[in-house]
């Protein structure tokens, strides 16, 4: 329930703190994000801001997109995301949000799409231990083993950890620190790792 901003992950590096310790950090090019739409409790049932990120060339925009972004009059944007807020009174359509909404030391949560790993077995996907390499084990070294009991319960429980698609899904990391904010370059420096590949779009929200 708090304001945030959209950004693009640029990559990770390591910098030195004022006390000399090395800090792993992620650099995000965030904003400026215009408010495309303001949703309020009376008309929409909840309070939220719809922010745009990554402006599109006119040639690439469709008419519905252009129509949707017309009220804000700030161009058409490739990525639109909603940020739930407690109150929308201080925001209006067309207002631009920049990295200034954050200050160094803020706790944030970052949401993005994780790197896709494809269809993976249980050892990689769920950290199962697999089967021994020898002692009579044949062709089952990476298999999950038993997935349930016999006549009772007579089924495999829902949610059993099995092989399947890993990654390429929405992931939120909470409790990350903002190390530095650079309004002149629209940069945020966040301590630690955030989901997704380089150039992936992420939502950064205050906690």
């Amino acid at each position: 329930m708090s304001i945030g901003i959209l950004g693009r992950k640029l990559g990770m590096t390591r910098i030195y703190n004022s006390d000399g310790t090395a800090v792993p950090c992620t650099v995000v090019a965030a904003g400026p994000c215009p408010v495309i739409q303001v949703k309020n409790a009376e008309t929409d049932g909840y309070n939220a801001l719809q922010l745009g990120f990554d402006q599109l060339r006119e040639k690439l925009t469709s008419k519905p997109q252009a129509g949707h972004c017309a009220k804000a009059d700030k161009g058409v944007y490739r990525h639109l995301r909603e940020f739930r807020v407690d109150s929308v009174d201080e925001y209006e359509v067309g207002q631009e949000l920049t990295v200034d909404v954050f200050t160094p030391g803020d706790k944030v949560k970052v949401t993005g799409t994780s790197k896709g790993k494809g269809f993976q077995g249980v050892m990689k996907r769920w950290n199962f231990r697999g089967m021994p390499a020898s002692h009579g084990h044949e062709k089952i070294h990476r298999s999950p083993g038993s997935v349930g009991n016999a006549t009772f319960p007579g089924k495999v429980f829902k949610g059993k950890k099995m092989p399947g698609q890993m990654g390429n899904k929405r992931v939120t990391v909470i409790g990350l620190d903002i190390i530095d904010v650079r309004p002149e370059d629209n940069l945020l420096i966040i301590r630690g790792a955030i989901p997704g590949p380089k150039n992936g779009v992420v939502m950064i929200r205050k906690q």
Binding site: L10, G11, T13, R14, I15, Y16, A22, V27, A29
Partner: protein, 116 residues
């Protein structure tokens, strides 16, 4: 990527002297014990330089009371007060891991002739 390189440059130390594997260096290290701060000197041969931007490190090996001691220093850490190059060594490789298997006189690195 350029943005990250720029950012890293701000955190890099440009005051470090040039040294190569095989050189003997004195690393003056700031040690903070509670409130007090003192300088500790670690002298030995540079065994390896791991290149990088803010990630780069160098390893110094010395023989302390007959036991080989290796220490890895981050190149750009503010904990290093300064690095002094004592002498230049004459070596033919960039990673001097072979020093680990040698003792006494064999582990000595030949000094480079410096013509004045």
């Amino acid at each position: 990527m350029d943005v990250i390189k720029q950012l890293e440059r701000e955190h890099m130390r440009m005051d470090m002297p040039q040294f190569k594997p095989g050189d003997t260096v004195k690393v003056h290290l700031r040690i903070i014990e509670g409130e007090k701060e003192r300088i500790q000197v670690f002298q030995g041969a540079v065994m390896r330089i791991h290149k990088g931007t803010t990630n780069s490190t160098f390893t110094v090996r010395k023989i302390s009371d007959g036991i080989g001691v290796e220490r890895v220093f981050p190149f750009h850490t503010p904990f290093i007060e300064r690095v002094e190059v004592v002498s230049e060594g004459k070596v033919r490789r960039s990673r001097l891991y072979y020093l680990r298997g040698l003792k006494g006189k064999a582990a000595k690195i030949k000094q480079k002739n410096v013509w004045s």
